[in-house]
């Protein structure tokens, strides 16, 4: 219904704003990355930004951080959703409480966890030494081996509630007769989870995973606020490297070159993901 041009008029204002804020910057990043400070064409920026070992390390750190986070976010989020889908007293209160980590601003989560992981005065070291789990306090955030797992744990805490509510919505859309049929066939709880629940919520889980990948590739707040990329670049990830190149070293052209590489890699990851999802959807049919 309606004329051709009317619909276009409706979407135009939003499209202009998005073109200005997304399309233009994307093209401008490409231009910056291929020019030097005087505006002459060059590929030096790419060479300069790819050469240092720190670029590779930042990318490996990013994969480690995003991959590690997503595994636990999806597993814990799904488990929480299955729990919240059961009927018991206090379920709606539990659901509200589960959302809290997600609503707490990222920077607040970062500072609160940093305080809890404080080497001397932190509650976590106190609980762990007091119960005899560890013999002496650990400097979680400055120790090269513990810092990344700790940051992953914080990131998991922050986002598993999001997985939980999305999967919960998927669970509630499952027709009750599927469970009744499984019961008649004599399925126990785990068989129900394995053969009824998981296949039914799989599309939701894959959609959520894609969002988590994108957010993961974007994540700066928690890591930047807690470690700033340290110690010794152990937690430096590509987005933080771009930020530091641009706003601490003022190497805008090199930062743009790294942005383009990052953008291409992110696009490839998303494309592979969508491709795999399309393939698994076809197999399911």
């Amino acid at each position: 219904m309606g004329r051709q041009s009317t619909g276009l008029l409706f979407i135009l204002p939003a499209m202009i704003v998005l073109a200005m804020l997304i399309a233009y910057p994307v093209f401008y990043t490409g231009y910056l990355s291929a020019t030097d400070a005087k505006g002459a064409l060059t590929i030096k920026n790419y060479a300069n930004v790819l050469r240092p070992a720190v670029t590779t390390q930042a990318f490996i750190n990013l994969i480690y951080f995003v991959g590690g986070s997503i595994v636990f976010q999806v597993v814990l989020g799904t488990a929480a959703a299955i729990l919240l889908n059961l009927e018991f007293t206090g379920r709606s209160l539990l659901r509200s409480i589960t959302l809290i980590p997600w609503v707490v601003p990222g920077i607040v989560a970062a500072t609160t966890w940093a305080w809890m992981f404080h080497t001397e005065f932190g509650i976590i070291n106190y609980m762990l030494t007091g119960s005899g789990v560890i013999p002496a306090p650990i400097s979680w955030l400055t120790n090269r081996d513990t810092v990344m797992p700790v940051l992953i744990a914080i990131n998991v805490w922050k986002l598993f509630p999001f997985v939980a509510i999305m999967v919960l919505a998927g669970l509630q859309a499952i027709p009750a007769d599927l469970y009744e049929a499984a019961k008649l066939d004599g399925a126990n709880f785990w068989q129900e989870v394995r053969f009824v629940t998981l296949p039914q919520v799989w599309p939701v889980i894959t959609a959520v995973t894609l969002l988590l990948v994108i957010w993961g590739l974007n994540s700066i707040t928690i890591i930047y606020a807690i470690t700033g990329g340290g110690p010794a670049n152990r937690t430096l990830i590509t987005p933080i490297q771009i930020f530091k190149l641009a706003f601490e070293s003022f190497q805008f052209n090199q930062a743009a070159a790294l942005s383009v590489i990052f953008f291409v890699v992110a696009a490839i990851i998303v494309a592979i993901y969508l491709k795999m999802q399309a393939m698994s959807a076809r197999e399911a049919r």
Partner: protein, 276 residues
Amino acid sequence: MNRSVPATIIIAVASIVLVLVCLFPFAWMALSSIKALPELYTVPPHWLPDAPTIANYVKVIFNSNIPRYFMNSVIISVGSTLLALILAIFASYGFARFDFRGKPFFQTFVLVGQLLPTAAIIVPLFITLRYLHLVNTYWGLILVYMIITLPLSVWMLTSYFKAIPIELEEAAIVDGASRLGILFRITLPLSTPGLVAVLVYAFVTTWNEFIFALCFATDSSVKTLPIGLAEFSTEFNTDWGGVMAASMVMTVPIALLFLFFQNLFVGGLTAGATKG
């Protein structure tokens, strides 16, 4: 519902673990915010404060930049949310009710906006804002937050508008109503839950946003709360009592807003994500 005893115990234990995991950091933040300095730096730490004090809050509210940043956050979040909502209403209505040339292209464009890594466009955005003299202005931040909130808002609202029976609008057209009249008198009132969901989503997102604010607001006249908090905690000697009090000031309003509108918000988000 009848359930065996072991199953009940498993549910109870799992619930308690879930509550502890989700609530403990928040509770520790609240407890730390009412402890005096000497007590914060006690080994071993005290679970409950011996002498609760509001000194940290007094300091944050009367002796810091936090109230100023709070106002900045309110102005920027409200401005950006309203602008995003208005743009999203028109765009979503266009997508939901019209067929026009290039529609798939524009819809893909909105989707790509959601998928784009923000770190990848931060540099040109900064240069663009500097060129337009919008660095360190409310308008600069209000505009850049559109990148984050507008795509998902359009997505969520489109599915809401599509769910409204088209017959209602057709009847109004027969009665001679204009397109805009239909949108404002029929479609919008019927999609109030969707509008609230988008409103809460956009507000929470802009309120919590950190990295754009860090890049585009370097002057204290426009800095937002997340930046204020980061400054509080990265000074050489971190005042943890103050940081925790400031964290409470920043978190409680947004948590209340969110919990109040929880159902609408969760409904809107899942509708947007699963129905596309």
